[in-house]
């Protein structure tokens, strides 16, 4: 494979630098076009056209935005803490960038193939919150402070179900490996899914992962830290120009990072359905398509649902997701310990997933929407 060995017999450090440059450049272009794509997609959901003026179908909109943002004045509020304020965008961006280093985009296509890939991603991503808190505290703005504190609270709550749901998968990889030991290596996890993606075995874990991911990304309905109609942008309310676009870059880079990560762990990554022996271009396209699907679902959810309140958000994490993820973990453990068939894994997880969906839509179905408007209509009709 192309990236399996060091490029052109270069020293290891130079090889790594070249790979990092490729990943960062690719990510920048993808981010520019995901802002464009999101605007187009959201516009279609809202019966609009979206950007149309900058180039054919507005294709250069992303670059136009980037040029505008770079050209803007770098404002700093008078009562901001100078260094904290100015370094905060980097403190959020660098952890997200580092997580991209271990993601396998195709077989062994990544900057580094770490044995502790899953662990590394979460260890590093946890640092993200430091930058957000820096932005919130350093801005000298109360909205920013509220946003940062909300982000911290949310992050603490959702990190646990997120990690536990991934542990569920890591556990069952043990059943597939020759020595019976689970693996944290993302490349191996993807390769193990050659026959079936782990979402089949662990639908509940995937649902929990997806929900927690939305929360980690501050995407609707969990966009409480950046709630536009309440705290007008949250922790980056005081940022403008290039620093603001750093936050934006972080947001989209982490969205893609999570999407690739989710597709590797749950959707079979580059290995499923074309097998581990397929051409690297096919593998790359497979990963990208799966990640794109996840990104589109994220945007779709964003345009559709309103925002949760902070206490409802906490309740959902601590009272529902946490319990379900631990139940899944225990069930997996029992099934694997006694060596019961894998179908049982799928069955227990599917039951759990059905229960989670039932919990979510329970009220909506009980409050039969069509009936509500009907009630109000008839309520008046009897009186006239």
């Amino acid at each position: 494979m192309l990236f399996a060995d060091p490029l052109f017999d270069l020293p290891a450090w130079l090889d790594a630098v070249i790979r990092i440059v490729i990943v960062v450049l690719a990510m920048t272009v993808i981010v520019v076009y995901s802002t464009y794509g999101e605007r187009k997609l959201v516009a279609r959901f809202q019966q609009r056209l979206g950007p149309m003026r900058t180039g054919p179908w507005g294709l250069w909109q992303g670059f136009a935005d980037a040029i505008k943002l770079v050209g803007k004045e770098d404002l700093r509020p008078k009562n901001a803490d100078r260094w904290v304020f100015e370094l905060a965008p980097y403190a959020t961006f660098i952890p997200v960038l580092l997580t991209l280093m271990v993601l396998p985009f195709a077989e062994n296509w990544g900057v580094r193939n770490l044995a502790l890939g899953v662990f590394f991603v979460f260890a590093i991503l946890g640092l993200n919150i430091v930058g957000i808190l820096m932005a919130g505290l350093g801005s000298g703005n109360k909205y920013a402070l509220l946003g940062a504190v909300r982000a911290a609270a949310q992050m603490i709550s959702y990190e646990i179900p997120l990690v536990v749901s991934l542990l569920c998968v890591v556990m069952i990889t043990g059943a597939d490996t020759p020595n019976g030991v689970g693996t944290l290596n993302l490349n191996t996890i993807a390769a193990l899914q050659e026959d079936r993606p782990y979402i089949v075995l662990q639908p509940l874990a995937f649902l929990i992962f997806f929900t927690a991911m939305l929360s980690e990304l501050h995407r609707a309905p969990f966009d409480i830290p950046v709630a536009e109609s309440e705290i007008v942008g949250g922790y980056f309310v005081e940022y403008s120009g290039i620093r603001w676009s750093m936050f934006q870059l972080t947001e989209y880079a982490s969205m893609w990072g999570f999407a690739v990560f989710g597709s590797v762990v749950f959707l079979g990554g580059w290995a499923w359905p074309f097998g581990v022996d397929s051409h690297w271009a096919v593998q790359l396209a497979t990963t990208f398509t799966k990640a794109l699907a996840i990104v589109i679902v994220i945007i779709w959810i964003r345009t559709t649902v309103p925002r949760l309140r902070i206490d409802q958000l906490m309740n959902f994490s601590w009272k529902v997701l946490l319990e379900l993820s631990f139940l899944q973990l225990v069930a997996n453990g029992i099934i694997l310990y006694y060596g019961w068939p894998q179908e049982l894994l799928a069955l227990t997880s599917a039951v759990g997933a059905a229960f989670l969906i039932f919990l979510i839509i329970r009220h909506a179905s009980a409050r039969s929407t069509k009936g509500l408007l009907g009630t109000y209509r008839t309520l008046g009709a009897s009186s006239s």
């Binding site: 109360k142 509220l146 536009e228 109609s229 309440e230 007008v232 309103p306 008046g380 006239s384």
Partner: protein, 385 residues
């Protein structure tokens, strides 16, 4: 959740860690204040412990302007009070002038007026549905959904009166001119589109678990409280108190029309939302009946022909109240001769409803304070006059 907490959140929490309440300034430039409204929230973490509203950023001296202009010249100022439903304000103003000067209005003009007022009500309620969805956090989708129907209604207004938001279409003694020729088909098509829009909102917001969770049981208001605070309009009817001036003190041709007054049960934010939605639906019924009535009287006069060029009213005093889109829209008028009123006073429903804000938001979360403000459906042109 209580509307009035028994005691303020103590400055010294249980574990002895001293906390300080923080004030945050919401507005006048804030996406959720629907104009230039400002409130200073005192928050303890995420809980609101106090709220102080500040108004007046949009004060234009409506009443004084009216006192210094000819009766007909003032029409345009009144459009700009409840600028989401300009015609409903024109209606109240014209009724006040007509009552002062004993001016009769042709029947066709009355039906046209009621039709336009109800279309304005739909405009205003759609604006509420869209903006409220945005307040709850649905990223503009509800806003754009509302805009589709609003644009269609505005297009019709433009065709009728030459202007979209501020039509200045009514005159003391009737309306400026007759409706365009194809109005029957156009308005009937509009009504279908409005009903479709309501169904869309039903699916988008009311069918959403998160939306229901956010709004149900938030700041419930009893009828007694609502009356004590002077709430009128949908906010009052959401409490279950059936009070609508179109039924209780019928004016214009409302007695000839069949429609229902939708009411809620608990007066919470969700009921306020649903009442407005149902009201918009009832308005489509009214418009339909007006169209039927208008088709029976094609070609009749729409403006009282006996009026002098300059309207002079010797003396008189009256208070006219109409069911505006936000509540009781009342106009007090006093004439002491001449072509100008001596005094014009507006009782604006938004202003009175807004006064209940503080009691409603105390004890709720910051995010709730925003949607409670949204659920009152204030329009700043009317609050600040």
């Amino acid at each position: 959740m209580t509307i009035w907490p028994e005691e303020r959140v103590p400055a010294l929490a249980d574990d002895g860690f001293e906390t300080v309440d923080m004030t945050i300034n919401v507005g006048p430039q804030h996406p959720a204040t629907h104009g230039v409204f400002r409130m200073v929230l005192t928050v303890d973490g995420e809980k609101v412990v106090d709220c102080e509203p500040y108004i007046g950023y949009l004060h234009r001296g409506l009443e004084k302007l009216t006192e210094n202009h000819d009766y007909r010249q003032s029409m345009g100022w009144w459009d700009r009070t409840d600028y989401l439903a300009g015609m409903a304000c024109e209606m109240a103003y014209c009724m006040a002038v007509e009552k002062l000067g004993n001016i009769s209005v042709p029947l066709r003009a009355e039906y046209i007026r009621v039709m336009m007022v109800e279309l304005s009500r739909i405009l205003s309620h759609f604006m509420f549905l869209g903006a409220f969805g945005a307040d709850v956090g649905s990223f503009g989708t509800s806003f754009i959904y509302a805009w589709r129907e609003r644009e269609r209604i505005y297009d019709f207004f433009e065709e009728v009166a030459g202007d979209r938001m501020f039509p200045t279409y009514f005159r003391p003694g009737g309306v400026q001119m007759d409706l365009p020729e194809n109005y029957q088909d156009r308005v009937r098509w509009l009504l279908g589109s409005i009903r479709q829009g309501l169904e869309d909102f039903d699916g988008l917001l009311v069918g959403n678990e998160i939306f229901v969770e956010r709004c149900r049981g938030l700041s419930p208001v009893t009828p007694e409280q609502a009356i004590a605070w002077g709430l009128t309009g949908p906010c009052l009817r959401a409490t279950g108190f059936k009070f609508d001036l179109r039924k209780d003190e019928p004016y214009s041709v409302y007695p000839n029309l069949t429609f229902d007054i939708p009411t809620g049960t608990s007066g919470d934010v969700f009921d306020r939302f649903m009442v407005r939605m149902a009201e918009a639906y009832q308005s489509t019924r009214i418009v339909e009946q007006c169209l039927d009535a208008l088709s029976q009287m094609e070609g009749e006069l729409v403006l009282n022909p006996d009026l002098p060029k300059t309207l002079r009213i010797d003396s008189g005093e009256c208070y006219v109240r109409t069911e505006g889109t936000k509540g009781e829209y009342g106009v007090y008028a006093l004439a002491k001769g001449g072509n100008k009123p001596y005094r014009m006073k507006l009782r604006s429903p938004s202003f009175c409803n807004l006064s209940a804000l503080r009691e409603m938001v105390i004890g709720t979360y910051v995010a709730d304070a925003i949607i409670i403000l949204g659920s009152l459906d204030i329009v700043l042109g009317e609050v600040d006059k």
